[in-house]
Symmetry: C2
């Protein structure tokens, strides 16, 4: 029986596994993590609206009804294309066909030292770290007598105004003005400052100028300060430099760049600056018809534009790659992949969103409502759907946030963290 | 206005704060963590049935409608009884009246080195660490070719058969036999071995021999191996020694001892071996009528028996201490605290529990059902109540567990954890 190995349990990998359901194959899915993550809602974990288990689900459970598939929790550290063998950190795995769908992480454009001061948002751990920092900033503000330091505690800078940056900035402003106002006593929540920095000349660069302007107005209604055409030139524990201007901020979040998984480089074929693998039209790797790449790790131009690194594109590519593997197994010709853009939505806050559905641009409450329905519908297959629904309905009506826990090893006020680590058990 | 400081946002501290509602006082509650934790359900987080935010809630939110109260996230490192001042890790806090309700942690009876191999269950972090270990043990079993090592992966030892130990052992056996059976392919879930070790001659030593025997039967129906009159004499990374017998186990959990918070010692008065403070009948500290102790940190004998370290006793003591503070402020005589035992329940598994309600001993499905109703009712005030209810109903009908995420810094297979820590960001 042909052995098919799929690396990565994200949208591309899981869709491919499902596409192979019922076929007479020996399918293995390998991931470093035990869970699939619904990344489009990850910012809601970072901003204390949802719990991790609301949007993450064990891969093993997702594929459990699929008899031809087994799940391995493991990390791929080498790919031997000649021997058709993967090297895991603790073992080896042979394949006849391989799909690499290992995704991407954020990139600091060579400034890796910024990561300590400005975490990005890709994994559950990232989201919990951001949640911890945001909540601790409000706790610190509550006890801060010095006005300058108080202002720094209440300043949040988000670098990058793509969908994630816009969502984070909008949600932070909402938290600060609605939830925090009720819970804290000593500071004025109107002093909250959320700054959204974008190098491009508009927020949400993938959209038209009109939509971007609408999103910017929505952000500004929420009190977000939008800085366009500006770049972070330095980030440290006191804040961010934008050219000559220093913004003193205790909390800086990174939503600017994307770097593909290092597994792309292991394939030994051409990758672009972001580490994405240039694939053939059928998504196979040039020179290796038995190896395919899909999802954020894949670089594919179509009509002069890159296929975007978003969930719908990953789902479509995962399905296409799986179908081409099946075609190759039965000796048929593979088909070129064609991305069908059905539209996309970016949410800004309660009742605020912009986007394109089909070819129609929409914005405001209607856009937000469609965004909401689509995201809940996508959680189909997760038992969590009804809980997410209730949690959101609650939050919407009560302006409350349910998951405001500060957990983790260094949950203590930052000054004390190092000294008390030993006794934190 | 009299300044009242309450250390600890557990059952005793929060109940005391609520009792002071509406009074003309300046109340401050200090806790090292930002959340109150519903500890009786913590084992459900450890066994992947609930998420942390289902059973934890920000203290700041609990008290937000109480105008006379402020919340401080901070760690108390010193108590100056003469100056009536607390030393926090980052500041000082004056009081006129003090309630110390800092609780307890697990104790290893002098074998602190065991903690690394056998984590206990007191905090959210503890529960997530246990969840991680349990889930990784099944992942390791799925890939283990060696039969001895496989047996070790599938062996879980719980040390201590009080309520927490019984709950953990029962839940582990249920997970293994029901959930795991569906999700894993290569090993036989009937090979799962859960061993519950207890030094006493019965499980649940606080109950009668009859109830304990019933609980033991329930545990054995779930496949738990109960070892009575035996003590762990050594614990390392390979397993547990019970006298001369070695039980090879990858996962060992500690539910045996309790040690009161070190804050008790800072009071400079008599403490018992477990670090509990011997209080006067009105719960004040001998020689310091303005300082009170309540909850697990308090040692109080009543009718020749210690008031137990359980949530109902902490709630009653917190309320009594707050009332005595109010009496002292208005110059009235304080009242002695009297613990009213309304009964208690210990759950073993689905439809399995034992306990005492009033003076009546109950067991089986009826006891479990009452346990379930009481615990959901206790979550009143948490928005999470309906979600917990739905999660449980789902789990009960679908034999599924919703929160099976492996997260944290060392989520990788154990052999790889050290080597790959650097790149885990």
């Amino acid at each position: 029986m042909p052995k098919i190995v799929i690396i990565g349990g994200g949208f591309a990998g899981l869709t491919a596994v499902r596409e192979l359901r019922g076929a007479e194959l020996d399918v293995t899915i390998v991931d470093r993590r035990n869970h699939h993550l619904f990344q489009p809602l990850l910012y809601q974990v970072a901003t204390a609206a949802l719990s991790p288990s609301d949007i993450a689900y064990p891969i093993r459970s997702v594929v459990r009804s699929q008899k031809n598939t087994r799940t391995i929790l493991g990390e791929v550290v080498g790919i031997d294309l000649a021997a058709r063998q993967l090297e895991l950190r603790d073992g080896r795995l042979d394949y006849d066909y391989l799909l690499v769908a290992a995704g991407a992480r954020h990139s600091y454009f060579g400034h890796d030292g910024w990561e300590a001061f400005a975490p990005g948002l890709k994994s559950v751990e990232d989201a919990l770290e951001i949640r911890r920092r945001v909540l601790l900033a409000f706790e610190a503000a509550e006890r801060e007598p010095d006005p300058d330091e108080l202002a720094r505690c209440l300043t949040f800078v988000v670098v990058g105004a793509g969908p994630t940056g816009v969502e984070l900035a909008g949600a932070l402003s909402e938290i600060g003005r609605l939830t925090v106002a009720k819970d804290f006593r000593t500071f004025d929540p109107r002093k909250l400052r959320v700054v959204l920095v974008e190098g491009d000349s508009q927020v949400l660069p993938q959209y038209s100028k009109e939509l971007a302007a609408a999103a910017q107005r929505q952000l500004e209604q929420l009190g977000v300060e939008v800085r366009l055409g500006q770049h972070a030139t330095a980030i440290d524990d006191r804040g961010v430099m934008l050219g000559d201007e220093r913004i003193a901020a205790r909390t800086v979040l990174w939503a600017a760049g994307v770097q593909a998984s290092p597994l792309g480089k292991l394939l030994g074929v051409e990758t672009d600056r972001a580490g994405r693998v240039s694939v053939a039209p059928d998504l196979s790797v040039p020179g290796h018809p038995e190896v395919f790449v899909a999802g954020d790790l894949m670089r594919r131009e179509q009509d002069g534009e890159l296929v975007p690194g978003i969930a719908p594109a990953a789902i479509q590519a995962g399905r296409a790659a799986a179908k081409n593997i099946l075609r190759r197994i039965r000796g048929a010709a593979t088909q070129p992949f064609r991305y069908r853009d059905k539209g996309s939505l970016a949410t800004v806050g309660r009742g605020k969103a912009v986007g394109v559905v089909g070819k129609v641009e929409i914005k405001g409450f209607f856009a937000w409502w469609i965004w909401w329905v689509i995201h809940v519908a996508y959680l189909i297959g997760f038992r969590n759907r009804i809980i997410v629904l209730i949690g959101w309905a609650w939050q919407y009506f009560a302006f409350s946030r349910g998951a405001r826990l500060i957990t983790g090893r260094s949950w203590r006020p930052e000054r004390a963290a190092a000294a008390s680590d030993a006794e934190s058990r």
